[in-house]
């Protein structure tokens, strides 16, 4: 009985890692296509996002099955409930990356020189997602806590992007729509940063039991 349970837990973890890897992949494509202005690359996000959605459903049903059949307690229960929460955050990351992809296609990959700070923001967010998945894979509480702190960096970048966009609108009122699109992208990155923080928090919870 226990060995079956162990097997299911191992599958849950590897599937979750796979989903994390997909999130890393979409966010890196989003960042790369934004930096290079590659619209074709941005289009590749949509099918991966669909895969992420499917993965969420799979992991959810697996998690519920384990809960029902094995009735886990203590650490195992924490692990499964954390996994069920994490997939929601990962799914949101996928969705927001898909939204970013759509905007990049809409603005035709245009990023002007004076709002290049958004590229830095994209890279910082990408790093956060990678780190949170890394923390999950290695069950590294220290890395997770460090990652939670990194959210401030992304938040600061958001402020800077906002300021530079205000300047763009003030100098060139015709570019208002473009500036708002970029602001949306920045907001999505900021939200992705929050979800990465959430994932890191769930890692801390599943290992230590404190939230």
């Amino acid at each position: 009985m226990r060995s079956r349970f162990d097997e299911q837990l191992i599958t849950l973890n590897s599937e979750l890692t796979r989903m994390g890897a997909m999130c890393e992949s979409v966010i890196s494509i989003a960042a790369k296509s934004l930096v290079t202005g590659d619209v074709e690359l941005a289009k590749k996000i949509i099918p991966i996002d669909n895969e992420i959605d499917q993965k969420e459903r799979d992991i959810e049903s697996l998690g519920l099955k384990i809960l029902l059949q094995q009735q886990p307690v203590a650490r195992d229960l924490r692990q499964i409930s954390a996994a069920l929460k994490m997939i929601t955050d990962m799914e949101r990351i996928g969705d927001q990356a898909a939204d970013i992809s759509e905007i990049i296609q809409f603005i035709n990959g245009r990023v002007d020189k004076d709002c290049e700070v958004i590229n830095l923001m994209a890279e910082a967010t990408m790093k956060m997602v990678t780190e949170s998945v890394e923390a999950f894979v290695k069950r590294d509480v220290e890395l997770a806590r460090l990652n939670i702190k990194h959210d401030d960096i992304v938040d600061n970048y958001f402020k800077k992007v906002k300021e530079s966009l205000i300047k763009v609108i003030a100098e060139n009122p015709n570019d208002g729509e473009y500036a708002l699109d970029l602001l949306m992208i920045a907001k999505y990155f900021e939200r992705i940063g929050d979800h990465a923080t959430n994932i890191a928090e769930w890692v801390v919870f599943s290992v230590t039991g404190t939230h």
Partner: protein, 548 residues
């Protein structure tokens, strides 16, 4: 074991019991039977005498015990019977004992009752008056005796059964205990049953065989794992569920993990979707390869599917660092492109001009201009061909005539040869150093220094300075050529000696040059038994040093 011993004991017990029973019964029954018959005979004789003397009255006096007396007249009629009434008894003239008695004086017969459980023995004797006196006795047969004995026999059997069970268990225990205590690690040191020694000997030889085979296997395994572990290529084996079966050190380095990931899912090793997709692809298609750039190195990933015979597939992944090969390939491609560019540009230019002239599109006054262009490009081609031939000569021949040369004097001559160019480019050439005499090939040294000085002048700033310094260090002659030109960027430094390699991608024509000069310098330096060193600061100048 217990069962077998029990079976043996109980069957022996039953066999003995039955045979002894039969033996005793047979002997005893016969003995008692003959004893009784004798007794009966004696009694008949006694009675015969007494009846002859006293008449039948005697018979009536006898206390009837087990015997039955019958007095039968000579015609067979029963006159007296000590047990039954004479009226009911029929004529006895047909009875065997009667007939025998009449005939021989004495008769005997035996008759069984209907149930066969009783046997009656009759003895008859003829009296002197012709009548017959018969005495008979009843005796039980063997069957009721056996039936009567059945109960004690069964009791004995039960006791034998229980006893055998107990003894069998004890015996089995006793036999087995030493067997269980045999030390199989050193079989020959046991001394229990002599009968076991062939078995123990066999075990000992098997043990030795196993040991040697195990040793061989371990050696093979460690040999194999050493080979795998120290392979330069990374090797990963995955099972049907993508779990790692084994991976070597090189693979650990590639995936940037420290500890052993045996048993873990591949996704923990590498989360890159590209590589994961590649593995999934290989699972479907059987094999595949991909290139991956990681940490500045280029890797080739070759993967193949392995079937375990049950239709489920494992994966073997080989990771080869092809960085060098990759860049060599890139250099080769660039070289081909450079060669074709260098050779084709003047040819196309010549062909174009010639075609225009042939078509009569060039007016008279423009003709010299086009002729000049053709001449320039042809001479440029000529230079390239000469340089290429020079290089191939350098590569092919190993002997160059040597002579004693005063190097400082030689350098002055070289500078003089290029005086025109240096004046045109406004480059001030300075030669310093003391006079050194050195035995070497003038031709090779000329090729080396001419090209270096020419480059120093051509790629210098205008106005600029070129400093040629001759010195001796540790018995080696050093000729330094230092310019104040544009310098060479770091990324180009390692490649400037390649054929047709040009730092200036625009390949400006005005300076001429074939892209082969430094290649000739390098080859000449090598043939001279020396080497050429270069250091450069981008924007400030370059220093070439020929070490002889």
């Amino acid at each position: 074991m217990t069962k077998r011993i029990f079976r043996a004991i109980i069957s022996v017990a039953i066999l003995i019991l039955i045979s002894s029973f039969i033996l005793i019964m047979g002997v005893m029954f016969g003995y008692f039977g003959s004893l009784q018959e004798n007794q009966l005979k004696t009694e008949l004789q006694l009675a015969t005498h007494s009846v002859e003397r006293e008449g039948t009255g005697y018979l009536k006096k006898i206390k009837s015990g087990n015997e039955r007396f019958t007095y039968i007249s000579s015609n067979g009629k029963v006159l007296y019977d000590s047990v039954a009434s004479t009226d009911r008894m029929g004529n006895h003239s047909n009875r065997e004992e009667f007939k025998n008695a009449l005939k021989n004086g004495m008769g005997k017969s035996t008759r069984y009752s209907e149930t066969m459980t009783e046997k009656t023995i009759y003895y008859a004797a003829r009296l002197s008056n012709g009548d017959v006196l018969r005495v008979s006795v009843s005796r039980v047969t063997a069957i009721p005796l056996i039936l009567g004995m059945m109960q004690p026999i069964l009791l004995v059997l039960l006791i034998a059964f229980l006893l055998s069970l107990f003894i069998a268990r004890r015996m089995a225990d006793k036999i087995i205990r030493p067997l269980n205590e045999i030390d199989l690690d050193c079989p020959l040191e046991n001394d229990i049953y002599e009968e076991l020694s062939p078995l123990l000997l066999h075990i000992e030889s098997q043990k030795a065989k196993l040991k040697s085979q195990e040793k061989m296997l371990i050696e093979k395994k460690s040999e194999f794992s050493h080979v795998i572990e120290n392979m330069e290529e990374g090797l990963v084996l995955l099972d049907k569920d993508d779990n790692v079966i084994s991976m070597n050190r090189a693979a650990n380095t590639f995936f940037d993990i420290e500890n052993n990931c045996k048993g873990k899912n591949f996704i923990y090793l590498e989360r890159n979707m590209e590589i994961n997709k590649f593995i999934d692809d290989v699972r479907c298609r059987g094999k595949g390869e991909m290139q991956k750039v990681k940490c500045g190195s280029v890797y080739q990933l070759n993967a193949g599917r392995i079937s375990d015979g049950t239709g489920k597939f494992g994966i073997v992944l080989l990771i080869v660092d092809i960085t060098e090969k990759y860049f060599a390939e890139r250099n080769r491609r660039e070289f081909t492109a450079n060669v074709s560019h260098e050779l084709k540009t003047p040819i196309h230019s010549i062909m174009g001009s010639a075609e225009l002239i042939e078509a009569g599109l060039i007016k008279g006054e423009e003709l010299p201009e086009f002729a000049k262009r053709i001449l320039e490009d042809a001479s440029r081609l000529n230079f390239i061909v000469e340089d290429i031939m020079e290089l191939s000569k350098l590569e092919e021949s190993n002997y160059f005539e040597e002579e004693e040369i005063d190097i400082i004097e030689f350098l002055r001559e070289e500078v003089k040869l290029l005086e025109g160019v240096s004046k045109m480019r406004d480059v001030d050439v300075l030669i310093s150093g003391k006079s050194i005499r050195y035995r070497t090939s003038r031709k090779l040294l000329h090729q080396c220094m001419y090209n270096l000085i020419e480059n120093g002048i051509k790629y210098n700033s205008s106005p600029g300075k070129l400093h040629i310094n001759l010195l001796e260090d540790n018995g080696k002659v050093l000729i330094e050529v230092e310019d104040t030109g544009i310098g060479i960027e770091k990324e180009h430094l390692s490649r400037i000696f390649e054929r047709f390699y040009r730092v200036d991608k625009g390949r400006t024509k005005e300076l001429g040059g074939t892209g082969l000069g430094l290649s000739i310098v390098k080859h000449s330096a090598e043939k001279l038994g020396g080497k050429i060193l270069v250091e450069s600061k981008f924007g400030f100048g370059t220093k070439f040093t020929l070490v002889l």
